[in-house]
């Protein structure tokens, strides 16, 4: 097993993970497969945040869900705490459901509108047979306090529609935290929120991380928030890893042309911006049913070399300490 970036002290290891979906375009037609995640190897260390960055359709959400077996992988292995869970039966995975949690993207869809905040937070405890009624009450209060929904006895009686978007996301974070997980998959947790609220939610997640040493898989399309929250960045393109490395190294010196384009596409507030053209990539991400040959990025790549890039699949190479890139031309 070879994991780029190493796998010491890892809570989760993805070893050449592959998730393909079967789709039929017509009834009875031969099913086609969508290569959502292809040959991704990645480890998340205890207490570490790895940001998975990519456009929609790059397979980042599928990667996150496959990592905790909410979607079944079609190839490769998933190891949790060194234990292979790729083929473990679901009923034997209740412990995994306690140790890994998800903060979903849309706080308007992910909290039950018919439940009070108290019930939302108590439910995971009931499912996992935790504590007596009084103990559960106490833990719900503590969880609400830890996400700054204060005073808890007011907030626990509210329904989701009485809360703002930021407050709902805090409830979703509290729900993810209440079982004391070791790993949280945060799937675009701030993309639906206002800019000023975003920072406070990310601050909250970071604080939880340092207080309790929780590892995060932070799925996002926004490199700017990844910079301020993650330790390492994994850039995905069309189901494959394009670049992987420590945040500082990747953003100071992006080696993959796709990462470079992603960085150019996100403007910092600067009055000079309006006088320049953004160095954006033309076209659209490729179809994952029949991904391009060779390097999947070659049809949109500004520096693709004919005879090489459309022929050979680039391997991840370590060009800087801990900083890997899948590009033939990067040096």
């Amino acid at each position: 097993m070879y994991i780029p970036g190493g796998a010491e002290d890892a809570v989760l290891i993805l070893d050449r993970l592959e998730t393909h979906f079967k789709v039929r375009t017509k009834p009875f037609a031969r099913p086609l497969s969508v290569h959502a995640v292809d040959d991704v190897s990645l480890a998340i260390r205890k207490g570490e945040t790895v940001a998975v960055v990519g456009e929609s359709g790059s397979g980042k959400t599928t990667l996150g869900r496959t990592a905790v077996r909410l979607i079944e992988p079609t190839g490769g292995r998933v190891l949790y705490d060194g234990q292979d869970i790729t083929h473990t039966k679901m009923k034997n995975l209740m412990w995994l459901r306690r140790k890994t949690q998800i903060v979903p993207q849309d706080p308007y869809a992910s909290v039950n509108p018919a439940f009070t905040v108290f019930k939302i937070l108590e439910e995971p405890l009931i499912v996992h047979h935790e504590g007596t009624t009084e103990e559960r009450e106490d833990r719900v209060h503590k969880a609400l306090e830890s996400v700054k929904l204060i005073p808890p006895d007011i907030f626990e009686r509210k329904f989701a529609h009485m809360l703002s978007g930021g407050q709902r996301q805090r409830v979703a974070v509290a729900r993810a935290m209440i079982l004391d997980p070791e790993l949280i998959i945060a799937d675009e947790p701030v993309s639906m929120l206002d800019a000023s609220v975003r920072v406070s939610i990310l601050d909250l997640l970071r604080q939880i991380q340092t207080d309790r040493r929780v590892a995060f898989l932070y799925i996002t399309h926004d490199l700017a928030t990844a910079r301020h929250f993650a330790n390492r960045i994994a850039v995905m393109y069309a189901g494959k890893l394009a670049e992987l490395g420590p945040v500082g190294s990747v953003l100071a010196e992006p080696l993959h042309p796709y990462t470079q384009a992603l960085m150019a596409a996100i403007p910092d507030p600067d009055p000079e911006n309006r006088f320049r053209k953004i160095a954006a990539l033309p076209g659209e991400p490729p179809s994952l049913v029949s991904p391009p040959s060779g390097c999947r990025f070659h049809p949109r790549c500004p520096i693709a070399r004919q005879g090489l890039c459309e022929v050979e699949v680039p391997a991840l190479r370590e060009l800087r300490p801990g900083h890997f890139v899948a590009c033939h031309l990067a040096v």
């Binding site: 456009e55 929609s56 703002s164 978007g165 930021g166 206002d194 800019a195 000023s196 609220v197 975003r198 920072v199 406070s200 990310l202 601050d203 399309h221 926004d222 490199l223 700017a224 928030t225 910079r227 301020h228 953003l251 384009a261 992603l262 960085m263 150019a264 596409a265 996100i266 403007p267 910092d268 507030p269 600067d270 009055p271 911006n273 309006r274 053209k277 953004i278 954006a280 990539l281 033309p282 659209e284």
Partner: protein, 296 residues
Amino acid sequence: MDGISFDLERGQTLAIVGESGCGKTSTASAILRMLPRNVAKYEGRVEFDGKDLMTLNNEDFRTQVRWRAVSIVFQGAMNALSPMIPVGRQVAEPLMLHLDMDKEEARAKTEEAMESVGLPRYTVDRYAHELSGGMKQRVVIAMALVMRPSLVILDEPTSALDVMTQANIMNLLKQLKEEQGLSYIFITHDLGLSSELADWVGIMYAGQLVEVGPAETVFPKPTHPYTQKLLSSVPRLKSEEKPDSIPGTPPDLTSPPKGCRFHPRCPFVFEKCKSFEPPFFGQTDRSACWLLEAGG
């Protein structure tokens, strides 16, 4: 929304930036008189090309101003394209209705409009489901441009799009501005994005403009505490600076706070802020904040 005043020169772009619920979209809809009839009460003046639009009756407004002089790209408009009608016919509709063009002429104009937004001519015969998000957004922009208006209101034109598609659309908007001398009112909650188009920036808070000024001064040196807070809350990609959150939540607009509406969240609040509403201070970069009284 309450007491909004600004002016905009031809060929210039004003970006209106604020958090959700601050009244950005209402401002845009009010310019086009598109607020629901039961809630809307219009007061004040809207002047366009030296003409006072408030004196026009609804029928004149509809035929002379809306879409012909001022058009709008709504937030999520690409999802409002009809799935049953080819997109070209939807773009051509105002041409046939307002300008009495016949089918061939309208089609030619529509194809031209498609080309100007970087789409192939045959897109006119496509249905909405055949197009990607970025292409649909281009169609919606073509729709806003087809009557050759001089002012286009862009209400979060890229909020549902991917970063790369968003960058391409911003490039397109810049190019159209240069080629056709368009003016934009660009409504967004993203300060970084606003700097891609804005010559002037207006910051809105709780239904009011709190700061208006040229991009050159507002982005590097904002004078209103809210603008300062908002700017420092933006996570920067190209600098190490840590983003900072704004404490508290925006006020309930049914009973806004007395005095300056930002005072409950303002780090520099003093007695006067709590009871008196601040007027605008400053010359080019104007801010409604008592701190700036007597030259600040």
